[in-house]
Symmetry: C2
Subunit: 291 residues, 2 copies
């Protein structure tokens, strides 16, 4: 339904002088559709979104209740250019979000609206009782149903594909600049749409690569822990990859790398830089950024 | 129709072990659909595609006949990742393609299949009798019709957004490496999906930016003049931007920049490097690459 609304409603975003208001309408329409679904599903206790960053009660009354943090439409800067965009969902057991960590999620999901409508889903170790798993579903519009199109994402430790976010931070973050030069000098393949969903989705589908978003004093971190980073980190780690929180711009070097899944959501709007991808690729990031 | 076929047929491209064959199927299905349309439309004399690079007679018999070069589905490496992809068409008057230049086109078109189905169309100065123009259409699926969503693309001379293609060529092309560093050091915004259609579409929609694809001895030029470069150069120049053929890897420096529209199609499979975008941005490219 969201994909269909996007296909028609968002077309207005391409009209002249309509970037501001119309664009906003699409984000808010997606937000509203998703909150309505949660209100009617019965299993959601509270939900908070990047658009409405408060824990809103969803009236759930089933035996097992969940709490959801979500970004209704990630990639708002590229919607007008008709690039693939997506929604992100993190699901926690119980009735609160504040004070949790990404590792406590039972599942997370990233849907992508491109030529097709697809979805990458992660089930945590808590949920599977064994290893975490991540897989892909695709909506087949001719038969109106979701089908499994990839049974298991399995990210290789090393893989020379890079998505260097917030590249402008290299101008006043020497360590990030050196890491960036390392990727370029070693002939990594560049893929960077500017939307976190497609950029991470590319790593999952190709089973390799690295995504980074590092802040500097002049180029601040923009990614949200609850709505973007934690759900996506669960997907990547469930797919055999690694995640790490980037050091703060002002931090002294030599800090300890911490998985994004272990960062506490101490503020619903908490923002951070990070790196995600193949385990060896994240090790390279750590060497340059924490070394 | 092509977008719908893509939405369902291409979903197979996401299945395990299906990258080769299934992917090919989508490209070929698009090729077949487009050739069939040309055969039945009556106005096409000959057509050649990136998939079938020969001038095939299309049985046209109307008073005014046209010849078409096209890429049925550009961006095959990113279809499985569900990124936006597209088709490219260049239209020439008469009944041949070989020996023509891009400047002789009457029109060109780039359709894009993302969350929406959109199309950027250029009408040449020959066609308008005045200035060339470029505009956008969007298919509204709820009412099944195309509507104009941008009356005029108008690319600003300067604009700090860059899409650096074939980045690996910087490893053995020092001039391209210096240009790349110039973009990074000057805090240009990076957008590079790896598909020429969305990467150029971004410049049109944002009214600014620069796209480059430069070859080196180790990283060859892959873009085709007839099916990709000439139609897209018409779009960019009709939108007020500039295009230039990149110097050959082995060429001595100091050559003269030549618009992509003035390069002769002396081979239906001719390949080249290029730069496209705002006029001042292309001037910067020329200074680094021809200086």
């Amino acid at each position: 339904m969201l994909a269909a609304r996007l296909a028609n409603g968002a077309s207005k975003a391409g009209t002249d002088n309509a970037f501001g208001d119309e664009q906003l309408d699409v984000d808010l329409a997606a937000d509203e559709i998703i909150f309505q679904e949660f209100m009617s599903c019965g299993a959601v206790a509270v939900a908070a979104s990047e658009e409405k960053p408060v824990e809103a009660p969803m009236g759930g009354s089933s035996e097992r209740l969940y709490s959801v943090g979500f970004d209704p439409l990630d990639g708002s800067s590229i919607i007008d250019a008709n690039f693939a965009v997506g929604s992100i969902f993190g699901v926690w057991p119980g009735d609160k979000l504040l004070g949790r960590t990404g590792r406590q999620q039972v599942a997370s999901c990233m849907s992508q609206y491109g030529p097709r409508t697809t979805m990458a889903v992660a089930l945590s170790a808590v949920t599977t009782g064994g290893d975490a798993v991540a897989f892909e579903l695709t909506f087949q519009s001719d038969v109106q149903r979701w089908v499994v199109t990839r049974e298991k994402f399995d990210i290789a430790p090393a893989g020379k594909v890079f998505a260097p976010g917030n590249l402008r931070a290299t101008a006043d973050q020497p360590a990030y600049k050196r890491l960036f030069d390392h990727w370029v000098d070693n002939r990594y393949t560049l893929r960077y749409t500017g939307g976190m969903v497609p950029d991470v989705y590319h790593i999952l589908i190709k089973n390799k690569g690295v995504f980074s978003n590092v802040s500097s004093a002049a180029a601040k971190a923009k990614l949200r822990l609850l709505y973007e980073c934690a759900p996506i980190a669960l997907l990547i780690e469930a797919a055999g990859g690694a995640s790490v929180m980037a050091p703060s711009p002002g931090a002294a070097s030599g800090g300890t790398p911490l998985s994004v899944l272990d960062v506490e959501i101490d503020n619903l709007d908490k923002r951070l830089g990070l790196c995600l991808g193949g385990k060896e690729e994240v090790d390279v990031f750590n060497r340059f950024m924490f070394g």
